[in-house]
């Protein structure tokens, strides 16, 4: 009898096991499946925007804002976005709206007030911040300091406008190779990741110190190598992401930065006992600069420069960070620049106002691409490198180097845009601390860094 009871127990268990898949199918996808219910709080809530940076009073001023909201399951959610603006000593003005696709804020009136309120001055600025909130209350603020450390754009009453000279496609100025490395491994070679259904990837950046030494950031080999007259002199192991940036001080102390897991950060001076790590949280590290002994990082989508100081333990990332829209330059001033397909603008912020502002337009039928370099020449002028492209069916493109001084183009030439290995867009050109203009290029046999004759214009 007992045996039959045992047998019936086993049969019951088997029956339960047999019907389990049926119940599981009726219950729907498992908790770990991405086909689960779309409702729920946002796991991702990110703000992207296009800063006007530098506008002329009276023109239309638009601020495109894109809030990306997604659940952990990869479902879209519908947040609300608030824009806070302030002109001069006015109170903050807040506007909230659903984050609809294609959203833009029209800031024309605020820009007009910025110059009207700055009596006796030809320039002003508008401060702003953005806040996104999803239906469950998850909040993202850009910049993280909100009203206490806002972003801003600058307004000028007038801006000198120039059309840059046309250079036929392919009419390139030849540079002098200062470093040539074959692909491979070792200090005298450059790391390469050959792409399949992806681009080839090589060194991610370089810089040049006051003595003309080259510092190559080779993340695929995990090192920064210093070269003197084309020969490796020293090499330091670093562990940063493949899109790492590098900047050196005039004496050669290097700072490197990039992705560390899902966050970004900067370390430096590389190899020094005083080296520090500067965590920057989430985002994209676009560039690093070292000015008068202080390192700065341009971070996206903040689209601003952060002065690298270690936060106190009680402070969160970004809470007390000093940010500036313009790139730091010696003397405590800022260099602001902004590009669109139709125009580039550049100027120097001195005492909170833009001076020496210039607007450039492309030759007829062409468009501006990315601004690969924008630097002060140290004498009131600017060096710019911008891709010039013909968009459409018969497209073509090349870089154009432009030296501006006193509101006119004093030198311009074209440089190649083709490269065998891809590098981050703002890492290809460097104005060295020695005064030279350098470009990193590559071909199937290796990479090289060339120096351009700037005809003593610096």
């Amino acid at each position: 009898m007992l045996r039959w009871r045992g047998l019936s127990g086993v049969m019951t268990l088997a029956l339960l096991m047999g019907v389990a898949p049926v119940f599981r199918a009726m219950a729907g996808p498992s908790r770990g499946s991405s086909m689960r219910d779309a409702r729920g709080p946002a796991d991702y809530l990110e703000i992207y925007y296009t800063s006007p940076v530098l506008v002329r009073a009276g023109e239309l001023v638009r601020l495109p804002v894109d809030v990306v909201c997604a659940t952990a399951a990869g479902r879209a959610c519908d947040p609300t976005v608030t824009l806070g603006t302030r002109v001069g000593s006015e109170p903050w003005h807040l506007v909230s709206t659903p984050a609809a696709p294609g959203l833009q804020f029209d800031l024309t009136a605020a820009a007009m007030r910025a110059v009207s309120s700055s009596r006796g001055s030809a320039a002003g600025s508008v401060s702003f911040f953005l806040k996104a909130v999803d239906k469950a209350g998850k909040t993202t603020v850009l910049p993280p300091g909100g009203q206490s450390a806002p972003l801003r754009f600058f307004v000028v009453r007038s801006l000198r406008s120039l059309r840059i000279p046309r250079i036929p496609f392919g009419q390139l100025r030849a540079g002098v190779a200062t470093l040539s490395l074959p692909w491979g491994s070792g200090r005298s070679k450059a790391g390469l990741s050959l792409g399949r259904r992806s681009p080839n990837v090589g060194p991610s950046g370089f810089d040049v110190d006051a003595a003309g030494h080259l510092y190559l950031m080779d993340p695929l080999q995990g090192r920064v190598t210093r070269f003197e007259r084309g020969r490796p002199i020293a090499s330091t192991a670093v562990s940063v992401g493949s899109d790492a940036s590098i900047a050196v001080e005039p004496d050669g102390h290097a700072f490197v930065g990039g992705r560390m897991g899902s966050s970004i950060g900067v370390r430096g001076p590389v190899g020094a006992a005083s080296a520090q790590a500067f965590p920057l949280g989430l985002g994209i590290l676009s560039q690093i600069k070292v000015v008068e002994g202080t390192a700065y990082a341009r971070v996206l989508p903040l689209d601003a420069w952060i002065k690298l100081m270690r936060p106190a333990p009680s402070e969160g990332l970004g809470g007390s960070q000093a940010i500036s829209v313009g790139a730091p330059i010696p003397g405590g001033d800022e260099l602001v620049r902004v590009g669109t397909e139709e125009r580039l603008r550049i100027g120097t912020v001195v005492g909170g106002e833009v001076r020496s502002g210039v607007e450039l337009t492309p030759p007829a039928g062409l468009a501006f691409g990315e601004m690969a370099l924008a630097e002060s020449d140290g004498r009131g002028g600017y060096w710019l490198v911008v891709r010039v492209a013909r968009l459409g069916v018969s497209s073509n493109d090349q870089f154009q180097v432009i030296h501006l001084r006193e509101g006119r183009v004093v030198d311009t030439f074209a440089a190649p845009s083709r490269s065998f290995a891809q590098a981050p867009p703002l890492s290809r050109f460097v104005l060295g601390k020695d005064g030279g203009l350098y470009q990193m290029t590559s071909a199937s046999d290796g990479m090289r860094i060339v120096r351009y004759d700037t005809r003593g214009e610096r």
């Binding site: 047999g18 389990a20 898949p21 609809a100 833009q104 990741s193 681009p199 691409g369 968009l391």
Partner: protein, 226 residues
């Protein structure tokens, strides 16, 4: 004795059945994809750009695998330094295929939701995206100007494809793109100049549903600040 033999046989059979039900299935070969990628797919009625964007965001930081198309959402590459190992992550065209919710056949403009853990690359290569036949569920745009492209369109060359991430762009006139950039970079949001690189053309999925669906009266795209 016969009863005892029958009982033993039944217990062995049941034990086997129970172990199959309660214990995780062993992969047929020990790869990350073989172990982790059990997802399925379902055809959907519509796909909006913002759905594609939200879907792609989960793949960020999850690695790259040539020919791959499977990832989880732990924000790290579970197979770093292991190229071509049936590891985690999509390749560039696999990421676009799953994010755009394309059906795995030509001549079908409909949409499919693929579980992120379904290991599928899809039948389309970068060459297909760059030089599409009229029967393909995507087409080439006449130019790449900002006034022409919309977010979640793609920039495609002979060897690479990346999705335009946002209608907002950095002030240096690059674009935010979502791309599977290779074993070294993984999958993520990067800034690139593909829009102005003549090796790239712009490609658009056919049959997007408007982002405002199903409540197209809500929201406004221009807000005037006084």
């Amino acid at each position: 004795m016969k009863r005892l033999a029958a009982c033993i046989g039944l217990v062995v059979t049941m034990s086997t059945f129970i172990s199959m039900e309660l214990l995780p299935a062993k992969p047929s070969f020990a790869t990350w994809a073989g172990t982790n990628c059990k997802g399925t797919s379902v055809n959907t009625q519509y796909i909006r750009r913002k759905d594609a964007q939200a879907y792609a965001l989960v793949a960020r930081y999850e690695g790259y695998e040539w020919g791959g198309g499977c990832w989880n959402d732990n924000n790290r590459d579970d197979t770093p330094g292991q190229p071509d190992s049936s590891g985690e992550g999509p390749d560039c065209s696999g990421l676009v295929f799953k994010s755009w919710g394309l059906r795995n056949r030509t001549g079908d403009n409909g949409s499919t939701f693929y579980d992120k853990l379904q290991n599928i690359h899809g039948i389309f290569s970068t060459i297909d995206f760059k030089y599409p036949a009229s029967s393909e569920p995507f087409f080439r745009l006449p130019d790449k100007r900002r006034t022409t492209t919309q977010y979640m369109d793609a920039f495609v060359s002979d060897t690479h494809i990346a999705m335009l991430w946002s209608w907002a762009n950095p002030s240096d006139n690059t674009d935010y793109v979502m791309e599977a950039l290779g074993d070294a970079y993984g999958t993520g949001i990067f800034t690139e100049g593909y829009r102005f690189d003549s090796r790239y053309v712009a490609s658009r999925r056919k049959n997007w549903t408007a982002d405002c669906y199903p409540n197209c009266r809500a929201g406004q795209s221009m807000v005037v600040v006084r």
